[in-house]
Amino acid sequence: MQKVWELYAIAITIIEKICRNKCSHLTITDVIEECQDYIKKRLEKDSFQALKNYDPTKGAKESTYLYTLISSRLIDFFNSAKKEREISSESSITNKSYEESELPADVEEILEQFTSQLSFEEQTLLQYRYNDELSYREIGAIFGMTHKQASSKIEKIQLKLRKKMKKAGLSFEVII
């Protein structure tokens, strides 16, 4: 249990980082207190069942299990807080999404085909890079590789698409 709180202390620094990005409407100390209570309650649930679920025979390190345990509770806390906030301020939301310029039908078709052919690993990498907007360094840290390896993996996907478009006699620059 002591280890969990040691890691929790480290997690506080991460919480602060997340707070600066996501929770501008609340003060950081408020969020940290709220988050601490939430994680405490979730961990104490069913007399620390989550901690008891750790099975060393499966091969994962105890520390890695604790990282995932704490981070999943952290994310759940922020997601629930986000939902509450969305409900309370639903009326004030203005839709700021803008329409991208439309692509020709043949390009659309190729993109559709291309995305369906991507492996799940490639899809995850693209999600992290372009939708979650992580840097190559961050992506590398998640998958245990260097930022160069991460960038080359994503460049490979780009190259595949470029080849596909060239084969169809289309310019890759159309989609940029």
């Binding site: 890691l7 520390s63 995305t115 939708n131 961050e138 840290a141 998640i142």
Partner: protein, 133 residues
């Protein structure tokens, strides 16, 4: 590429990857099939991608805060060992200089380098001196 990524939709899942599975994924202890199924979920689930991201951030922060107490100093010094050994062999072997003039200490003749002599040496010398006088 953003246009391609935009086509990848996130879904609302009621069940997520459990903590043990994610830990095994992070430690690369899953076989290819299990790893692919984790990737399948991650590609559509923002929540699990965030969990994985925060877990890796905690791991990095922990690594950064841990005291560095197991540096392999010998590993760093290894390239210099032949050089150091050479220097010791060349300069460190005592060379007997027979040509050094003797000095006298209270009438007792002794070799140069008296500072380095042992206590036995001086005891013997003083005994000699007292017996002579």
């Amino acid at each position: 590429m953003k246009r391609v990524a935009k086509r990848l939709k996130n879904q609302e899942f009621t069940e997520h990857i459990d903590d043990m599975q994610l830990a095994l994924f992070m430690d690369k202890k899953l076989d290819k099939q299990q790893r692919d199924s984790v990737f399948e979920h991650l590609s559509h689930c923002k929540r699990c991608r965030d969990v994985l991201k925060v877990a890796s951030e905690i791991a990095q922060e922990k690594q950064r805060l841990e005291p560095v107490n197991n540096i392999d100093y010998m590993g760093y010094l290894k390239p210099f060992i032949p050089f150091v050994a050479g220097v010791v062999l060349f300069f460190g072997v005592p060379m007997v200089d027979d040509s050094s003039p003797n000095v006298s200490f209270k009438g007792v003749e002794c070799e140069e380098g008296i500072i380095d002599r042992s206590l036995d040496y001086w005891e013997r010398k003083f005994n000699e001196w007292f017996s002579n006088n």
